[in-house]
């Protein structure tokens, strides 16, 4: 394992220190907690809190700021944060209008965030939550824990955050978040696994000729292993899965996110994007706005995911609304 780190036990903490030292104008750390909140706490609006394990940077601290999140809670690498940390975030950002928790659908995240919500409610804070589950690689059935929440979550932060900024009520912000969740789909692929610092070795092994399809964002193995293909073939496969699930119609408008997993250079993301756009053009689906870059990473994984979000007028307006955060500026 080769990394710029000092001590595997302390990466999360030192990273948070590094973020705050870099961007004091954006984020402030709650003393004694692994929680980043807006440096310009805004009163009179619904507050948004998200979080999860560390290792997904710029998620989630990088999206704290105007028009997106009010607080982000960072657990250990790939481990959802504990309830007391989330509770602290909720208390810090609540401005009396209630708090929306944006949770990615993982057993651990849900349990920890729900326990935090229980603690907050006991103190009289209004807390509701939404659970993102955009990953089409995983079948959603009664007999599973449902789909995972992956890169599409960033669109929930952006759009629900913009909605909250308008002064909308907790219910309205929640409804908008639910609308994004209902319309966003993602699928990912890895060429090389990632290494959790404390584990010291990669989460799975791939030969030079293999790729892993249907990966999540925690370095877990994916749903399928295949011989490596060209960028276009890979995109064709991912898009087929996404479009099949989404079944958009000719004339529909979408936002596209081609997300890097951490060790994938922009060059490759843009080559993937090229094919994504070709396919959408062939199908007569209009691309309203495209995002290419590292938004929801898996530490140092070489991989990518493609996200499509079907838009209506409300979502379009909110997507384009001002956002000023470390990792997302509009």
């Amino acid at each position: 394992m080769k990394k710029f780190i000092n001590d595997v036990e302390n990466v999360e903490n030192e990273m948070l220190e590094g973020i705050v030292l870099a961007h004091p104008e954006y984020v402030t750390r709650l003393e004694g907690f692994d929680v980043l909140v807006r440096s310009d706490k805004k009163a009179g609006k619904v507050a948004l809190v998200s979080g999860g394990g560390s290792g997904h940077e710029p998620s989630h601290g990088g999206f704290v700021g105007k028009g997106m999140l009010d607080g982000a809670v960072a657990g250990s690498v790939f481990t959802s944060p504990t309830p007391d940390q989330v509770f602290e975030a909720i208390k810090a950002v609540d401005a009396g209008q209630g708090v929306l928790l944006v949770i990615k659908n993982y057993t651990g995240d849900i349990m920890n965030f729900e326990m935090a919500a229980e603690l907050a409610e006991a103190e009289g804070i209004k807390v509701v939550n939404v659970v993102t589950n955009d990953d089409v690689a995983v079948e959603d059935s009664l007999y599973t824990t449902g789909r995972r929440g992956v890169a599409g979550t960033v669109f929930v932060h952006k759009i629900a955050g913009a909605k909250a900024e308008t002064g909308a009520s907790l219910d309205d912000v929640k409804n908008t978040a639910e609308k994004v969740i209902a319309n966003v789909r993602t699928m990912g692929v890895a060429l090389k696994p990632c290494t959790v610092p404390a584990a010291g070795k990669p989460g799975f092994e791939l030969t030079e000729e293999e790729m892993e399809l249907g990966i999540g964002i925690h370095g877990e193995p994916g749903t399928e292993r295949k011989p490596i293909q060209t960028a276009d073939e890979i995109v064709d496969y991912l898009m087929e899965r996404i479009l099949k699930d989404m079944s958009p119609e000719t004339g529909d408008e979408v936002a596209v996110m081609v997300n890097g997993a951490g060790a994938t250079p922009p060059m490759e993301l843009y080559i993937l994007n090229r094919r994504v756009q070709q396919i959408l053009a062939e199908k007569g689906i209009k691309v309203f706005k495209t995002f290419v870059g590292d938004y929801m990473t898996s530490i140092d994984m070489a991989g990518a995911s493609i996200t499509l979000l079907k838009l209506d007028d409300e979502l379009k307006e909110l997507l384009m609304a001002e956002a000023d955060t470390i990792g997302f500026k509009m």
């Binding site: 394990g53 657990g75 250990s76 690498v77 790939f78 481990t79 959802s80 944060p81 504990t82 309830p83 007391d84 940390q85 993982y106 057993t107 651990g108 349990m111 920890n112 326990m115 690689a137 995983v138 079948e139 007999y143 599973t144 824990t145 995972r148 959790v196 404390a198 584990a199 070795k201 989460g203 799975f204 999540g216 925690h218 370095g219 877990e220 193995p221 749903t223």
Partner: protein
């Protein structure tokens, strides 16, 4: 019968086991999860041992609840709330007691299971820690009914826990992170069921002393 000293010894021993098997549990979790179960459990139990001096003078019920709260606030992930709730619930059912009877011990495990199920919404056979704790408790109850001592019952219970761990290799995960693998999870042993079997191993070693 279990004394407070035995309960404290059991906690310390379980912590040792989590450190000792940190890598093994992590490797198991790398195969079908995100490779942090050993890291999570050892971090949590290390924190418990560090905090122990602040609550070891209290009653057995309070000790168990503090262990649970420490796990909840230091582990995170799925195992934090689950193990944490299990210990907290176990503490609550022996409220005010210092010496624990056979029935108390059974009630504790029973309540731990209720806690795990109410948090995690899983049932037996979904390739989770329930697949070792549930057969273990069933075996303990059966042994006691058949006239075994609690010590012998726990010895047999541990065996049942390991049988449950073996069983997890044969089934598809439908809860937790391993469920995303679908069919590919077959053949792999569940890390949470394994750490739970080590909990019974710790209990056995204390009981047999």
């Amino acid at each position: 019968m279990a004394t407070k000293v035995e309960v404290l010894d059991f906690i310390r021993l379980f912590a040792d086991k989590m450190t000792e098997h940190r890598q093994e549990l992590t490797d198991l979790d790398q195969a079908i999860g995100d490779g942090d179960h050993g890291i999570n459990m050892s971090r949590g139990m290390k924190a418990v041992i560090e905090k122990l001096p602040t609550f070891e003078e209290k009653g057995t019920d309070e000790i168990l609840k503090s262990v649970g709260m420490t796990l909840v606030s230091t582990v995170g992930g799925a195992s934090g709330p689950l193990y944490g709730t299990a210990f907290m619930k176990a503490g609550m059912v022996v409220k005010g007691k210092d010496e624990l009877s056979e029935q108390d011990i059974i009630n504790m495990f029973q309540e731990a299971i209720v806690g795990i199920q109410s948090r995690g919404k899983a049932v037996k056979g979904e390739k989770t820690m329930l697949d070792s704790i549930m057969p273990a408790l069933d075996q303990i109850k059966a042994s006691i009914e058949a006239g075994d001592s609690i010590e012998d019952a726990i010895v047999k219970g541990e065996q049942a826990a390991w049988d449950g761990v073996e069983f997890t290799k044969t089934i598809i995960a439908t809860k937790g992170r391993a469920s995303y693998l679908g069919e590919r999870s077959i053949g792999h042993q569940d890390p949470g069921a394994t750490s739970m079997a080590y909990l019974f191993q710790a209990a056995k070693e204390i009981a047999k002393k």
